[in-house]
Amino acid sequence: MRISTAQIYSAGLTGMLDQQSKLLETQTQLATGQRRLSPADDPVGAVRSLELSRSLDRSEQFQRNAVVLDNRLRMEESVLAEGVEILQRVRTLTLQANNAAQSNESRAAIARELEQQTDSLMSLANTRDSDGRYVFSGYQQDVQAFSRDANGFRYNGDDGQRMLQVGLNRQLADTSPGSELFMGIANGNGRFQATASAANSGQGFIDAGAVADLQQYAGDAIDIVFTAADQYELRDSSAVVIASGSYRSGDSIDVAGMTVKIEGEPASGDTFYLRPSEAQDVFSMVSGLAQLLAQPRSGGADRALQTSQINTSLAGIDQALSHLVAKQADTGARMQALDRQRDINDSVNLQVQQNLSVINDLDYAEAVSRFEQQRLGLQAAQQAFAKVQGLSLFNYL
């Protein structure tokens, strides 16, 4: 084929320019470490990279959420652990107070300590976070969770419990509201409370009792009325006698699924009540116990009444203890779930990062060898251009 002089020139030049632009592209890739210099270089990769970047950002945000949640759950757990410790101390003190060797004065001292423990519990329940907001008042973080007035203890918050997003499809509960942690504890033995009438003149006292048969137990209110020092009747809420028996100290009395023991010497006319448990808060329980112990007692009847009361309260404290321990376990379970979720997030993160790297990052080994090849190509094109341009018939004229 015939070739024009301009063609020889432009073919050489185009060759060099092409080589140069390829070389520059590889050079930019090497300088930035990016495989893709603009979205158009790899549209699918560009979109995929956007999606993966978002997944990465997201799971990093979930990890940050998880750290926040973890700190809060740790705080809740330590508050509960401290609460458990206080209640155990309360229990020990109560057992001490119930000892016959205690004088009115020493019991009053114990009562004062119990009051202090109530205050400690209150201040635990009114824990604030670093921003001064109440941790245990549900959604209403700006109001003090628990307050005390003439009518007793009052919860000012609500039942709200935040959820935090710690995974793409995973929300975990934040700090529990105070109403759930410190309130709603069934007093007595958890099912019913056994109490002695304040008007009792004998020296019989009743224990906290237990539910012996859940099938039969229906939350009935039963009165145990002594018709003689060794005879009692069981009456239902309409004062109808449903059974009667002869009393012997320490024998258990079974009625409507419940079993209680009365000890000591009750007098005729003495009455003991079996009533369904009521939901109570832990502060009232401890504080009630303190008030109980603060009262001086004289004589056997007083002592028997107080013993009955202490028995019931002690059972209530046990209920509160197991309530707090259960909540502690609940918090622990959430922390474990959170740990697992963080592990999952970490592995998702790693996976996404690897995928992103495959899409975005330059394969240096490949790029460097490509660069060398292109450099060689450009050199060859330049040499060829120079050589060919030297060829002309005019050189020989």
């Binding site: 024009s4 158009a40 560009a46 997201r58 935040r162 959820m163 709603g184 002309s392």
Partner: protein
Amino acid sequence: MADMLGNALSALVSYQRALATTSHNIANVDTEGYSRQRVDFATRIPQQQGDLSIGSGVKLSDVRRVYDEFSSLQMRNASGSFSQLDSYYQLATQLDNSLSDPELGVSAALSRFYDSVQNLADDPASIPSRQLLLSEADSLSGRFAEFSAQLDGLNKEVNARIQADINDINDLSKELADINALVVEAQGKFGAAPNDLLDQRDLALLKLNDLVSIKTVLQDDGATNVFIGNGQSLVLGEEARPMTTVRSPFGAARLEIAMASSPQSPISEVVSGGSLGAALSFRDGLLDRTTNELGRIATALASSLNEQNAQGLDLNGNPGGAIFAALEPAATAATGNASGAQLTAVVDDVSALNGRNVRLQFDGATWTFSDAASGQPISAWSGSGTPADPFVIDGISLTLDAPAAAGDRFLVTPTAGAAAQLSVVMSNPAQLAAAAATRSGADAANTGAAQISETRIVDASDPNLSASVSIDFISDTTYQLNGSGSFSYTQGADIVINGNAVAITGSPIAGDRFYIEANVGASGDNRNMLAMAAVEDRRILDGGNSSVQNAVNSLVGDIAVATRSAELNRDAQENLLRQTRENVESISGVNLDEEAANLLKYQQAYQAAAQATGIASQLFQSLISAIR
């Protein structure tokens, strides 16, 4: 002897001219559009002497350019296509590059915004977290504004390119008209046009075709007429018809092209090809699509986040206000509409929004809706344009403030301006509604083992949404609502009242009480923020098929694909152009070695002819001396 001298002289003259042509070729080795010229030799008419015919020397029969009509036309077309694809590619690359930085894109800003929503959900009472959310919202709208400014800049560049191309086209038309005049004159005088003039005209046509696709018709008198579009003449014989730019009837920011002679009606839609065609098709295609799509995303984002914020309660216990300014579509009446009626557009349904612009035309009796980019008629619309019965199209309702007149035209750009207008109107971070409107609770004295779920808002518009509701169990299996009725308890089933839904699980006991109440003072509630974080994944666009993030990603993908395919087309066309150019060059290009060889050949022939005159002279001398 006279014969011999005559023959030698004819050769001297002919080879002189041949040498001149060769040196002309050498001189123009680098001249653009030059076709090499060749000389054709022919014998002169022989002298008849008796029955012998004696040769009477040589003459130059023709100096012609080596030129192939077909190859040249092929190159002109290839060059025009390349010019179009290259211009388009340059514009698309600019758009693509504006998206290339992942840290600066809309996608990254969206990501940071939703992270800040999560952040606030972690600690809803925190003012710094609230402030952060607002400032991320601000920077998000800033990204939209900046991107939209870049699109605006591209629009300006398109206008500048159109203007420059029109100027070049007018210059070339003028040049062609001038060359036509010279060609016609030469053809009239000498019967043939000078080769160099024809080369110049071919070059001017090639350059013109690079600017806009042309059709040419060669007249008998040698002039070439040039037409564009669907028959608009640019050059007629010796007359050039200039083109001009006019403002679009639907907005001054948009240049359209027209012939300079009145009525100057726009012919942009019929003109194609070349760099001008590329600028127009880029603007009316990819650029408009991107602008509209970006606006559609902005509209969806603003409306969904505002809507979610309105469902909750802010730190002061009030329903959440708007975070972003509401974005409304633009509807423009064409300048010169007879009625002066104005059209107002309102977005009804974000999920039905479409990236297209819609043109409305009234012929006095019926309305025609068409896609502004393609001109295709649209049949999916309804209504009559009155306030009672507005036009409804693509999720937008359109109302006319006065009756339209025949010939009135309107352009509806549903989302074109939205990205630029996206702005944060909320200034007080306390107004972010992190809390849900209501909360539920269980009475502290409940003895049953039942729990109530959080309230879920099923109808935020219920007027009694925040009214207190009590759910009292009158037995273990039945409950009353607000002290009346008797409903049987189903574990876990939704109890819906006043736009709230709650579910109770576990075993309640007669006397247990649950309640729903206004969520006042709930600075620690994050339910509405969690819902706002979930907006990210909510498929609110394209009839419930894509989320905002999906739409942003598709937009990036669409632009990248368009740029990529523009690049591939351009590269393919460049190869084609290179081949056709080589083809033309191999036919018409000057080869210096060839010319050097010709120089030698003609030089030797000239020298031989000179020798022949010398011999003739010697012969003459011999004859003279013999006689003397």
